[in-house]
Amino acid sequence: MIGITSYGAYIPLWRLKREAVAKGGKGEKSVGSFDEDSLTMAVSASVNSFGGIEREAIDGLLFASTTFPYKEKQNACLAASAIDLRRDIMTLDVSNTLRAGTSALRIAGDLVKAGSAKNIIVTASDCRLGSPGSSFEQVCGDGAGALIVGETDVAAEIESSFSVYNEVFDVWRADEDKFIRSWDERFVQSEGYGKTVADAIARLMREKNLGPKDFAKAVIYAPDQRRVEEAAAKLGFDLRTQVQDPLISTIGNTGAASPIILLIAALEETRPGDRLLCVSYGDGCDIIVLKVTEHIEKLRSRRGVRAFLESKQYVQDYATYLEWKGILKKERGPGKALQEVSLTALRRDWAEVIRFQGSRCKSCGTIQYPPQRVCTQCHAKDQFDLVRLSDKKGSLFTYSADYISDPLGVPVILSVVDFESGGRAVLTMTDHNSKEIKIGMGVEMTFRKLFYNEGIHNYFWKCTPSRA
């Protein structure tokens, strides 16, 4: 039996009310902070999927997105590094379509079946942009989901799957485009989503001799709330009891991540024996049928979607959202010049910067961050092991709130974090409510982007108030 053995999701803290974008807008959408992108969210979701499985056991990472930070530099490689996986594994970017997440899930299942790997992370993450004033701007949200696919203690078996492609130009971006493009609305619906999804599901039912009553839940990708309701009604699924809430009104359409996020939301509420239908859409359809087993109960403590839905804060206003997304640049006093990152130094400091590893002195046991060749405590030289600190909880020893140096992150919270396992790090805090910061509060580590300059996305770790 091959299938999903674990899951984890990540929805950013921030929400923007649609009303703030345009009058009459309903609901809200999730917005990645100025220091988040598809890579950082995918790392968070993947880390949230660990629980019973040791990172050492992961031998594959498939990363799906339509908004990768790099075009010629493997994003899955960076993700694997930040997640601190071992190096002798398969890493693959799956891109350029909104069904990349489910395609990656199909591929992962087939890899395990072929014996090429035993435990594969499939992570899907997107932060698509609609141009100001467009319906996409209203509906698109940011988020990521991660599944672990394997053959041990499978919680949701992949019973069957198939794909069809549809070469229609309905919703797309060319390689230099920042914003989503689309064609005539009626055309997009009738020749794109509407036709393809309905035909594909109908074919599945025919070939497998299944009907709506055989499914506890139908997870169907939704460009917006209305389309999925139409599709479900047409196919005979009960909207109230069977169709997974597409979360359009709470987080929005999360692009390639959406089918995975919605699948996780559905899995969180399923029982052993339930059959699930998972349908994605993007240049065609992937259809995956899953059967839940008793191992689903072991996953109840995972950080899925539900944990993040209620953990939220509102973006101050629409202008702030535009600034965070780089659409609007405001002059905010003497700016500081962007800085050149030394790539040779980055390679040398990789463990410290990307994997967030510290050193543990073999002589006296003191944990230090960043790793030190000479122990600060006992001065033993070159006697240390590297230890991962990114998954350790910490408490805030002291902090300060800087009100003048970085306008986007005003105020910038400099934090001294003491890890429960030992060791200390001086970091900036992100996703905070500055009024609620207190010495002694619990924090956790999160992978974020510091800045972009000259083709380099400079990533590092920050601390954040414990979430979910």
Binding site: K336, S342, T398, S400, D402, V412, V416, G422, A425
Partner: protein
């Protein structure tokens, strides 16, 4: 080992006005400070046999001092040690004289901060860097100590801000009596407490001025000093303690004291023969880059018991008319803080106090007094410590 005690004498000092000196270049600042020092010593530039010039951000070339002064092929070294730069130039000059390798040495520190769109941002990292250290103003780093200090000693934020404000008010009062200071006006506690926030809990008046300036000292042996003047000033101790990043690396780093200061002070007191600093010190200049720094320094120097400096502040112990006046010239807060010059500016005030030339700021019970000039620096960096006395 006797150390430096009584082996070196200061015979001349100079100090420019500190502030936004738009008309003064680096060379101008060096020249102005050195000219005053040379005249004060009653020597000529050509009598200087070796020089140390300090600047933290002004570039690497020691030879720029030669160009400004037109010295004749004397040895000149550029010194940098963050905010301990100026005191370290004087340390080098003193050691050279004490070692007997020269008889008349010059130490000068300068900083020209107002030629850059100076953003009060830190960022001293080298080219080999991944830029992961947050580039934040020094205020943010010191505020870490303020928040932890309040928490550790159970001081409510409002009370904490008022205690810090009293230190700012004191220094503003002293600065208003000093025609060289960057800021020369009084402020009130209310103004300080309600000022715009820079790095919580430090507001505008908790932070030192961003200033241009230079200061210089001429040193020689005590034997030779007698030739130049009767009121030369003796160096009693010099100590420098450089941190190895202990506070951020060790969970034992408590952020309510600066170990560098404690160590440098202990060594300097020993070198100078001081056993009860609170009683034996008559005047002190300390590194008040931020009000919290001065507060903690009172404890690090042994002026106040641990965690109880606020009591001394509230009692006015360190005011101009108090038991142990601290920062009689306005401190970094009001005199200003050109990084590379501050240490020497502190010694300048002590030098003038010892000679009875501190005008309206003169501490009573004048000569002979023992006093302390102490540039205490940046956590994670260095503390340099001076004790100077007139006999």
């Amino acid at each position: 080992m006797k150390g430096i005690r009584d082996k070196v004498a200061i015979i001349g000092m100079g100090c420019t006005r500190f502030g936004e000196l738009w008309d003064k270049s680096q060379g101008d600042l060096m020249l102005d400070a050195c000219q005053e020092a040379v005249e004060d010593a009653g020597i000529e530039t050509k009598d200087i046999q070796a020089a140390w010039v300090g600047t933290a951000l002004g570039g690497l070339l020691g030879m720029r001092l030669a160009r400004a002064l037109k010295t004749e092929y004397i040895p000149i070294t550029h010194v940098e040690n963050l905010c301990a730069t100026a005191t370290d130039t004087l340390r080098q000059a003193c050691y050279a004289v004490a070692a007997g390798v020269c008889e008349v040495a010059l130490a000068v520190g300068f900083e020209k901060l107002k030629d850059s769109k100076y953003l009060i941002a830190g960022g001293f990292e080298p080219p080999e860097s991944t830029k992961i250290e947050p580039i934040l103003p020094p205020a943010t780093s010191y505020a870490l100590a303020a928040n932890r200090y309040f928490y550790r000693y159970g001081i409510a934020p409002q009370e904490g801000k008022e205690v810090l404000a009293k230190i700012a008010v004191k220094n503003h009062h002293n600065g208003s009596l000093n025609k060289r200071a960057h800021f020369q006006r009084e402020i009130t506690v209310e103004q300080a407490v309600s000022a715009p926030m820079i790095a919580y809990p430090l507001g505008v008046y908790d932070c030192c001025g961003v200033s241009d300036g230079a200061a210089a000292a001429i040193v020689t042996t005590p034997e030779l000093a007698k030739k130049y003047r009767d009121d030369y000033v003796l160096v009693k101790a010099i100590q420098l303690a450089t941190g190895a990043y202990q506070r951020p690396l060790q969970t034992a780093g408590d952020f309510v004291h600066f170990e560098e200061t404690v160590v440098a002070a202990r060594r300097a007191y020993q070198e100078a023969g001081i056993t009860d600093p609170r009683k034996e010190i008559d005047v002190a200049e300390v590194h008040d880059c931020f009000t919290i720094t001065e507060l903690i320094t009172y404890e690090d120097l042994g002026f106040s018991p641990r965690g109880r400096a606020k009591e001394d502040v509230k009692a006015g112990a360190f005011e101009l008319t108090g038991e142990l006046p601290v920062n009689t010239d306005g401190g970094l807060k009001c005199f200003g803080h050109p990084f590379g010059a501050s240490g020497l500016r502190m010694v300048y005030e002590i030098y003038k106090q010892l000679q009875g030339k501190a005008d309206k700021r003169q501490v009573k019970d004048a000569l002979p007094i023992t006093s302390l000039a102490l540039p205490v620096i940046h956590p994670c960096a260095a503390s340099a410590f001076w004790a100077v006395g007139s006999s």
